[in-house]
């Protein structure tokens, strides 16, 4: 679908002055977001490195810690995020086709899913709090030691597992909150009619960010929840 160029470039207010045309502006925004996501890969990657080393050293404690997480809540949350990625993708499509009302609906649904994810995460963390699995002064691995005597786990490495659990899910949740914030803005501007088939770059790159947060979770889920779930003898 070819766009006719604007009649007078000087009056194209959506075009920032450093760019030659809309396409250059859009390509720059897209490249900028992909580069930023690349930095996020390295940011989470540092934690994945720590996780990798300590899982290598303390497999039993990681297995026990993993078992203490609620696999059904974790699976549900994974499904919630996948649904949110669907609504985001369909939202970008709606923006491409100029369907304002549909776009707003899909963005709102995305927000619902995102907040749902955060809510479930809050429940899971509360459970950890009640079980004294939050690292720090009140940490206790005694319940796991008694529950899984065949694993012969030590308390200190178990605390390392939970430290990494909270660091990784915590930073993921923080990114989720930022995503929710971004999508609040997107929903508002979409409702105000700012996005057209010619200009919906913020929806596209906001969508890329949201999908990325989903991607991180796609890896966090098996790494944290599914370390060792086989039936114990």
């Amino acid at each position: 679908m070819a766009d006719s160029p604007p009649l007078a470039v000087e009056h194209d207010e959506g075009l920032h002055h450093q760019f030659v045309d809309r396409e250059q502006q859009r390509n720059a925004a897209s490249l900028g977001m992909w580069l930023f996501l690349g930095t996020e890969v390295m940011f989470f990657g540092g934690m994945f490195c720590a996780y990798l080393i300590y899982r290598y050293w303390y497999y039993k404690e990681f297995a026990a810690g993993s078992r203490s997480l609620d696999i059904w809540l974790g699976t549900t949350n994974t499904a919630v995020l996948i649904c949110s990625s669907l609504t985001v993708a369909l939202g970008v499509r709606a923006a491409q086709m100029g369907k304002r009302k549909l776009l707003v609906l899909l963005l709102l649904l995305t927000l619902v899913f995102g907040l749902g994810f955060l809510g479930i995460k809050g429940v899971e963390w509360y459970d950890k709090y009640v079980e004294h699995h939050i690292p720090g002064a009140s940490f206790s691995a005694q319940d796991l030691i008694e529950q899984y005597p065949q694993l012969h786990i030590d308390p200190a490495p178990t605390q390392i597992y939970f430290s990494l659990y909270f660091a990784m899910t915590g930073l993921h949740a923080l990114h989720m909150i930022v995503g929710v914030g971004i999508f609040c803005f997107l929903t508002y501007y979409a409702w105000r009619g700012r996005y057209t088939p010619q200009y919906h770059t913020p929806v596209e790159i906001g969508g890329l960010y949201w999908h990325f947060v989903d991607l991180i979770w796609i890896y966090l889920f098996p790494l944290l929840y599914l370390i060792d779930r086989k039936p114990l003898k």
């Binding site: 809309r22 996501l37 540092g46 696999i71 990625s85 991607l215 889920f221 599914l226 086989k230």
Partner: protein, 97 residues
């Protein structure tokens, strides 16, 4: 503008695949496959990730080679970090007297 508009059927199809894979990965975790459990979980996760990146994030349909370059580089650099760190940890036992 330069990106094609994909059909909603395609998106829903990818969504369905992702949901199925999620159920599979959670279920397989209860089956004893020994060390393969981890491998299977990560392979499924990677497949899900590919679906999200290629279809939801439009990488399959973009004409921008630079986007793919950025993704490959980021992953490659992560592998450098993981692999060279592991090279230390993995060989420490070998040098212990």
């Amino acid at each position: 503008m330069s990106e094609p508009i994909l059909s909603s059927k395609l998106y829903v199809g990818i969504w369905a695949a992702l949901m199925c894979l999620t159920v599979i990965t959670a279920s397989v975790a209860f089956v004893d496959l020994g060390p393969l459990n981890t491998v299977v979980a990560l392979v499924i996760a990677t497949f899900k990730a590919l679906l999200v990146v290629l279809f939801f994030m439009h990488v399959k349909y973009t004409s921008e080679k630079l986007t793919k370059m950025v993704i490959v580089c980021a992953l490659f650099w992560l592998l450098i970090l993981l692999f060279l760190s592991l090279a230390d940890y993995g060989t420490r036992a070998m040098t212990r007297t």
